[in-house]
Amino acid sequence: MTMTLIETITVGSGGAASIEFTGIPQDGKDLQVLVSARNTSTSTIFRFTLNNDTASNYTPLFLRGNGSTASSSVFAPLNNPFALEQTIDSYTANTFANGNLYVSNYASSVSKSISGDSVSENNATAAFQLLNTTQYSGTSPITSMQLFQTSGLFAEHSTASLYSIS
């Protein structure tokens, strides 16, 4: 009974449009992904899907602060829900955002609740903090997870580690 590292993926030279975990073991209770991310373009949040499901089965809601104000938004079901914050190309060199995405009861056959917490850093007055929740209406056990960009790439040295909590 423990928190077990399943896989760590580090983005190499040239960047990557997506990071994917496949063949996720089904013997855990929850999944946690810890991410350090930077985007090569201007996208401040990367996206995710589960089981390669690209239908509009994800209902996201978030609370976001930027250093001066906070706001909250909820969205109609999307096919590319928000995952976590990331720094962007114009930010201070070598800064990366950190965050975790948590999926509970991932091996069950009911809809899934997902929690996200992330922060970016720019060595400046403005930086983002994101608390987000996503309801995924798919009922299949989660066997794969995709993290991806809608513009630009995951920059070199971005990392994602998937843990099983059992």
């Binding site: 809601l61 509970s104 609740s113 929740t133 996503t134």
Partner: protein, 163 residues
């Protein structure tokens, strides 16, 4: 070889609806505790926490919340149980994902601090910091409802984080 640091101490899956779930006789050898709740409410309710069966006015909290249209912050002082989150009723079909962290729970020289993250797109997302105004070590944790019940099938998992 690395030492496991995240141990499942107790897991409860509700076979019948219940107004509370209690973890008792908690092992005192860990540094922190983590509780993961994934459950539906029988009605719109508040999730709350009570430690060591203490129903005195000893729970204080500050929270920030987003409901999809606005961001707010509020505090509650001298409560008889600690506020964790609002939960929509079961008709939404959406279980809440509640993550609780109790730091240094076995200490006897400080008040116990709790960080709570609640997630339910039907109601919102919240982050709450709580303080239990007692220096007693935490030996029992009750996750209760303000009204109504936790629905059948709800899961409540208690983990110990090694120090």
């Amino acid at each position: 070889m690395a030492t496991p640091t995240y141990d499942l101490l107790e897991s409860v899956t509700l076979a019948t609806a219940a107004s509370s779930v209690t973890f008792s006789s908690i092992d005192q050898s860990y540094g922190d505790l983590i509780i993961i709740v994934n459950a539906l409410g029988s009605t719109t309710l508040e999730a709350r926490i009570r430690l060591n069966s203490d129903s005195g006015s000893n729970y204080n909290s500050v929270r920030m919340s987003g409901n999809g249209s606005s961001a707010t912050s509020a505090s509650l002082a001298s409560q008889t149980s600690g506020y964790l989150s609002v939960i929509a009723d079961a008709t939404t079909g959406e279980a809440i994902l509640l993550k609780l962290e109790l730091q240094d729970y076995a200490a006897t020289d400080k008040h116990t601090s709790i960080l709570a993250r609640a997630n339910q797109s039907a109601t919102g997302t919240e982050a709450t910091a709580l303080r239990w105004a007692s220096t007693a070590a935490v030996t029992a944790i009750e996750i209760l409802t303000s009204t109504g019940n936790w629905a059948i099938g709800g899961t409540f998992n208690l983990y110990g984080v090694a120090k």
